[in-house]
Subunit: 386 residues, 2 copies
Amino acid sequence: MPEPQKEEFVVTPWKVEGKIDYDRLREQFGTSVLDESLLERLRGLLGRPLHPLLERRIYFSHRDLPWVLDEYGRGNHFAMYTGRGPSGDVHLGHLTPFEFCSYLQEKLHVDMWVQMTDDEKFLFKKDLSLEEANKLGMENLLDLLAPGFDPKRTHVLLDTVSIRTLYPISLEVAKRVTFSTAKAVFGFTHQNNIGSIYYTAMQAAPAFLPSKLKGHPVPCLIPCGIDQDPHFRVARDLAESLGYPKPAMLYNILLPSLQGEGKMSSSAEAKDSAIFLGDQPGDVKRKLSRAFTGGRTTVAEQRKLGAVPEVCSVWSMWRSRFAPDPKEFEEITRTCRSGELLCGECKARLIPKVQKFLEEHRKRRESVRAWLPKVIVDGPLAGKVE
Amino acid sequence: MPEPQKEEFVVTPWKVEGKIDYDRLREQFGTSVLDESLLERLRGLLGRPLHPLLERRIYFSHRDLPWVLDEYGRGNHFAMYTGRGPSGDVHLGHLTPFEFCSYLQEKLHVDMWVQMTDDEKFLFKKDLSLEEANKLGMENLLDLLAPGFDPKRTHVLLDTVSIRTLYPISLEVAKRVTFSTAKAVFGFTHQNNIGSIYYTAMQAAPAFLPSKLKGHPVPCLIPCGIDQDPHFRVARDLAESLGYPKPAMLYNILLPSLQGEGKMSSSAEAKDSAIFLGDQPGDVKRKLSRAFTGGRTTVAEQRKLGAVPEVCSVWSMWRSRFAPDPKEFEEITRTCRSGELLCGECKARLIPKVQKFLEEHRKRRESVRAWLPKVIVDGPLAGKVE
């Protein structure tokens, strides 16, 4: 495998660019490795093998996961929290934390909190109206809850709707974050709008909500992309001064762009970088046929040298979701590396699986419509959540 | 009358210090004079004489009042909006905008919006909890609504409770205000917390709410202390870009401290600077007996030169509230200036009036309890206000 180049990359909650070196990023952010001993502890709790997202190290880093497991062992169950800023298209990468939370909820029957940040998208996106952001939020929620959640244990915070519950906690956070801190953590300038500057307090709020509602410290585990770490560094820094436990983090790598650099993106310029959940079979075929791989320039060379799965956007899809069977995944990886499996064959094998997944996803998505309105928090929440 | 000295003064929404020169302040802020021709126009609308707060120029400056009156003449009634940050003690000065709005509502049957900014007080006051700020807000509302309002036309926005209605509009405002602007207008530094930086968007929101609810431009008239002008300069600057009319302003001077400098204050160090609405007869007697006046150092000198009502904290109380009869007020002012009325006599005459006012105020305050909960906006408001 070629030595990874020390290229420049940028990872913030609002911008991911370049070829990401996740080990360097983890060191830079100061997060811990999700190592084999911790995975073994998770196998004891969740059964073996673990979900592919864990076994294959798509979740690769954490903060305070052992403490969450200690508390769980003592009967103090954690709440999960993850979220998303609504956008025009939800792609496969956006599903990762939700699929993962769905798995954890099924195994451990824990509460799930989903934040849909229509306020954030409105504040950071020049031409988006608040009404559009709110509508997109509702649409996105159908997709993100499709992996399957227990409606009795799932609570949706759609920021502009759930603000009665979120605002008081966000104020507690905001009082303890100076502009100086926000500037240092997020790189804000004097030209940022005051809403974008406040926003991190809104993203921190759900991490403290379970403790506030229950009146005792409830561990909160946040599975999300590592690009969100800056928000939660701020939240963790002040948690104890507010009387809440620090939220624990479980970070996934970002699904790489089909075009070979950065992460899958739903921005207009990069429509072919990602498989969107609304893509039709023809879109899937076109995008995957053209996708960036770890193959060689000629068939002969590939047969001789083998391909490099670690840099391949197609392999990353097998890794995350489309080869749940460990034997199948091992076979794909081995034959790719050996040169037996050519990229064209590999793509031809993946395309129908992705097409089928999307078809089934859309059925699951429709089934969410019936219960989504019932789980959106609207009004004061105290006393409504057990 | 002695030439007013060009002393330094500071007037911001969070700090009022020094001897305020209202003409200089008006020029500095760029607000218009509430001149005789405009008062005459108001007399035509409201009847003569006008409320003492107008006739005696306690309301002394405005922005766009003629436009509000033009619109009213065309049948487009304005909404009134004023507010307050809750505090431990409400004093007579805090009542001024509410007494004035009560008068306008009685005369013109217009809608009244009251904002109680528990969030602001929490964010700007180091040791105040949000729960305390919220409780103080509820208590303060009893006082501020005591002058008499029509419950059917009165809506209370208690920020942390009414946030579902306020937040979306505050976001619209916040998106258009940069940190640079907030810094320039309010003098923020990098050490200000991000909640305090956002806050101006919350104070602007009620000015646009009537238009948003009715779906067409509704003029909003904001009677308040001129120290609040910075907030509304920001709101006015961006109103049109949001599709709302600029709020019109009517500014009162601040009731001077009984101790002779700055305004009445409810801060702990200045308890004797103000008559609080909860003061007992003994407190009133003590504070007024010691109050700073425009009298001379000896009786002989005062008999000879007369006193200076314009600098006298006792005279300012006659002016604002305790001599509603124009003849009585004229007589007090004339005999003060001539030296006939000595400060001791004047105070002895005022003390029982203030004591009685407070006693009656407390009865009116209790009568607000019955209807206050019904007018606090909680939840989405669209469709609930005619």
